[in-house]
């Protein structure tokens, strides 16, 4: 089960990284997720900057 899941993730990762457009979409997705977490998370601001400086 775990082996199959691992193989699937690896294959998906290779597929995404072999296509420039998909790779960029993946990066944008991460940025969007972080931004929405910051905006809507209750103490997200603290979580982000807590030990950054």
């Amino acid at each position: 089960m775990i082996k199959r899941l691992s193989d699937f993730i690896t294959a998906a990762e290779e597929f995404v990284y072999s296509h420039t457009a998909l790779r960029y979409l993946w990066y944008i997705g991460i940025v969007l997720a972080l931004l929405l977490f910051w905006v809507y998370g209750e103490d997200a601001g603290t979580a982000f900057v807590y030990n950054a400086f």
Partner: protein, 401 residues
């Protein structure tokens, strides 16, 4: 040609990220419901630490913004302005901003960060006597209401003088530093503390650090602004529209006072101080004997809060705001019992009055009502008759603009 292709490919991702940020900002802004006057009836955190709701309220010509502290929470009293003027019975809506420990510096930062939204307007300011202890506001109480968004916004406001920004930064750096020493980094954005330290006392290293972190501060202004709008939007969605009643031409103040006294009598049956029953039971009650002369050493004649009050008045002056400052009395009978003498109380009253006169601030001086029964609802907060005096002043204040 190959070089152009490399540059173009390098720019694609940053441009996409920028478009994502702009798209999110647009979507969140578009989703915020229209401002509702009922947001003014309670002291929501979004109004204390944010700026969006303040700007929306200030844009409405029939809103009176009241900056205060814990006395704003006395919503069980019918003469509290939020109750007394419900339904715009005198033609205006009050907007309560503040909660416990919101003192001069917190109000000053909110007003300083308001951009042009309050410029040329009027606000009501209420501060509490108990913050005039020697060291002024405590670091943890300041931190409970501190807004990094407001600090970053006021520092970016070219309309404020470098001197006032430095004064605010000096106090913010001092209190943020004290808070960090007490509690570590939890809850505080160290980058904002470093910025305040730099603005208060710039040095070579802090200037270098500030140059490196400048993009971070710019981004944080954008991010805090978005978060403020999203939180304000959620609040506005949860509120009902304020119900408006037909404005009354005249308020019968004598009748209102009789009703206030009757209400006070019913709510203060278990003590001789005219204090709310619940408050008396919780904080005094069987411990009354131990309170005798406990404040014999208390002194409000020297306090950092006076400096913060100057900052608040100076910010109002630079913003072109005409404030009405409510000078709240102490509870005379209670203060005599606890040993905070009339002479020392008078010294505090005079200090505040002198500062208000220095800045030509319109003052509603209630300090002569120390011994008026039911003027306060406990040992420090405005009560039935105290709020009624404020209500009378608000009507005059609104009609004079």
């Amino acid at each position: 040609m190959k070089l152009l292709k490399i540059i173009a490919r390098a720019l694609v991702l940053p441009v996409l990220v920028l478009l994502t940020f702009l798209g999110v900002a647009f979507a969140i802004t578009a989703a915020v419901p229209e401002y509702k006057d009922s947001a003014g009836d309670d002291n929501y955190t979004q109004k204390i630490r944010g700026l969006y709701l303040l700007g929306q309220s200030a844009a409405k010509s029939d809103n009176i913004i009241i900056y205060g502290s814990s006395e704003l929470r006395t919503l069980e009293i019918s003469t509290n302005p939020a109750n007394f003027f419900a339904g715009k019975r005198a033609g205006f809506q009050v907007n309560l901003i503040g909660r416990g420990s919101c003192q001069s510096l917190t109000h000053a930062m909110s007003i300083a960060a308001s951009g042009d939204s309050l410029t040329g307007g009027k606000v009501v300011l209420i501060t509490s006597p108990q913050s005039y202890v020697k060291d002024g506001i405590a670091a943890d109480l300041f931190m409970a209401n501190f807004s990094a968004q407001q600090y970053l916004e006021l520092m970016a406001d070219d309309g404020l003088s470098p001197e006032i920004k430095k004064d605010i930064s000096r106090r913010a750096a001092e209190l943020l530093g004290q808070y960090k020493a007490l509690h570590g980094s939890a809850g505080a954005d160290n980058a904002v503390m470093y910025l305040a330290q730099h603005n208060a006392n710039p040095g070579a290293i802090s200037t270098l650090r500030n140059a490196v972190t400048a993009p971070y501060y710019s981004f944080m202004r954008y991010a805090y602004g978005l978060k403020d709008k999203a939180a304000s939007g959620r609040l506005l969605e949860s509120l009902r529209e304020a119900e408006e009643s037909a404005p009354l031409r005249e308020i019968d103040w004598a009748r209102e006072e009789s009703a206030a006294i009757e209400e006070a009598r019913l709510m203060t049956g278990n003590n001789d101080f005219g204090i709310l029953d619940d408050y008396y039971t919780t904080y005094i009650g069987t411990r009354l004997g131990r309170q005798k002369d406990k404040d014999a050493g208390l002194d409000y004649s020297v306090s950092k809060e006076y400096g913060d009050l100057r900052i608040l008045f100076e910010v109002c002056r630079q913003k072109g705001i005409e404030p009405l400052f409510v000078h709240v009395p102490l509870h005379g009978q209670w203060s005599d019992y606890t040993g905070f003498t009339a002479q020392r109380r008078q010294a505090y009253y005079e200090n505040v009055k002198k500062i208000a006169e220095e800045y030509a601030i319109e003052i509603l001086d209630l300090t002569g009502y120390e011994y008026e029964q039911y003027f306060l609802c406990d040992i420090m907060h405005l009560g039935w008759k105290g709020w009624l005096e404020v209500d009378k002043a608000l009507v005059g204040f609104y009609n004079s603009r």
